[in-house]
Amino acid sequence: MVLHIDAAEVRYGTVRAVDGVSASLGRGETLGVLGESGCGKSTLAQAILRLVPLAGGAIRVRGFDVGSGRGAGERQYRRDVQMVFQDPQSSFNPAMRVADIIAEPLAVQGIGDRAERRERAIALAGAVGLPAARIDSFPHEFSGGQRQRIAIARALALEPALLVLDEPTSALDLSVQGQILNLLLELQRARGLSYVLISHNVAVVRHLADRVIVMYGGQVVEEGAAGEVLSAPRHPYTQALLSAVPEVDGPDFLEAIVAADELAAHPSGGCRYAARCPLAGPECARDQQLLALEDGGSWRVRCWRAAPGGSPE
């Protein structure tokens, strides 16, 4: 297992941004994390990278305990998992040239000498389709798609097993999005990479993911094989996400605020989606567990109205 998340919890003050999320991911697989702004999906990504501390539960990357692990394993962990950030431009130091940006992880880990690192950077640039001739330019001289290629090249420098892709295409033009997604698929096949794909975009998740977890208010509300969940969703929230593709295509700040308010208003009891759910009934004031739709199945839904065998309709 490359990644194992067990009841992970992250708090900002009293708000549980990630609340009891569990998931696991094998080699060469892609786990999609779907949800709108403020649902906790980016916080989950940061927790996997140890950029925010875990308040509860555990995350393991190839057996390394991200929450509390120290020592020799930590060094390997930093090589095993890398991140591709949502906004590539802000993830580059504006004073550094592309060759140095791509080679920075190697420099940090003390791999090779300057000349060797530069050679590796040129090879990585080639692997992601960047012209080697422009390796000494600054990142602001590149287009958005090329910047994301630079970010991907940097993320591959340490030959990680797992890439966390935080909205890898949301800052890009539609035509360029497809190129980047295909590049990610090619790299995954060639290198046996595992991906955690964080996105609000159903189409992107459908394109890349093998399995998907749908998050709302810090919790997983539906999980299963991407093909099944995204073609016949059972949770009312997933259904809303799929039917309203244009609406969730951009960051909807109003909804994010509403979502955060709901979190604060319902820190413990009841379904967090009830306030927005067209199907909400009296039973929704009580907590519901993630329930398998069929015995032993991997498709699970957190909804009173989508009980096993039943349908919310």
């Binding site: 930093r78 130091n93 004073a95 940090v108 880990q109 940097r154």
Partner: protein, 291 residues
């Protein structure tokens, strides 16, 4: 690992923009002109001076400006024009030296403090508050007196006095920078605080700190001149503008030129640094015109 300055310097584009900004407005051009004049005076003092700056001539005491002594003479008959030229070397050197001490130490400490956060940050900043709470000149006096009366020690004292100011600004910038994507990315490679400080924080602190340092050179010159006045700075017979102003003020009614002309040199040079500093500052903040 060591920083490679060639790797971290910004590209030619920001440099060209900087030059355009500094030469763009009238006030910036005036400032640049004043600075160039001061630097030329310092460099060419041996060529431009009409007299030996330290030569005493008791027969020519306190003469007003005329054809031989263009800026008059002082109470022991030294040529003030020549002393002002030679004094440019001392005073510019003092201004830049004091600022270099304060800015370098303050940027390093503040950058480190902001990056680390937590109790380390709190301890460093409370100590800086303590230094700032003490009256500046009294502290400089105590330091200079403890180190012994010399120009170098006066510069160190004034430099140390400037550290908390630079430290606060650098810390604030570092606090903002540590939330930046590229610092988060560096964490994900396993980078330690030293790498992040040297490669990501300090190179991005250069521009704002340069602006403040430029604006501060004039103050530094005046501060050291004040120490010189009570005998803790420039030692006679060294030509230094501040010391000349302070010596000349006893004769202000009978020989106005003695204190006034070196004072004018301080004023114009400090003005030059301020105008250029403002111009560079508006580059860092292109949206707002500075008043």
């Amino acid at each position: 690992m060591m920083a490679d300055p060639g790797e971290t310097l910004a590209g030619p584009a920001p440099g060209a923009r900087l030059l355009r900004r500094v030469t763009g407005s009238l006030s910036a051009r005036i400032g640049l002109g004043l600075l160039i004049a001061a630097v030329l005076a310092a460099l060419l003092a041996p060529l431009l001076a009409t007299h030996d700056p330290d030569a005493i001539d008791m027969a020519a005491r306190l003469l007003p400006p005329d054809a031989t002594h263009w800026a008059g003479t002082d109470e022991v008959g030294r040529d003030l024009y020549s002393r002002i030229l030679w004094g440019a070397r001392t005073s510019l050197g003092i201004g830049l030296g004091v600022v270099a001490i304060g800015a370098l130490a303050g940027t390093l400490i503040g950058g480190f403090s902001g990056l680390m956060g937590g109790w380390i940050d709190a301890a460093i900043m409370r100590f800086m508050d303590l230094v700032m709470a003490l009256p500046g000149l009294v502290l400089a006096l105590a330091l200079a007196a403890a180190l012994g009366p010399s120009l170098t020690n006066a510069m160190i004292a004034m430099g140390v006095l400037g550290v908390p100011g630079y430290c606060r600004v650098a810390r604030g910038q570092a606090l903002a920078l540590r939330q930046h994507g590229f610092v988060l990315a560096a964490h994900t490679f396993g980078a330690g605080p030293w790498h992040i400080l040297v490669r990501h924080i300090l190179p991005n602190l250069m521009a704002p700190m340069l602006v403040i340092a430029t604006l501060d050179v004039g103050n530094a010159m005046i501060g050291v001149a004040t120490l010189s006045f009570i005998g803790l700075g420039a030692q006679p017979p060294l030509a230094e503008w501040g010391a000349m102003v302070n010596a000349g003020q006893s004769y202000i009614l009978s020989a106005w030129w003695y204190a006034t002309l070196p004072g004018l040199a301080i004023l114009l040079t400090a003005l030059g640094f301020n105008l250029v500093g403002d111009a560079i500052g508006s580059l860092a903040n292109p949206k707002g015109d500075r008043a």
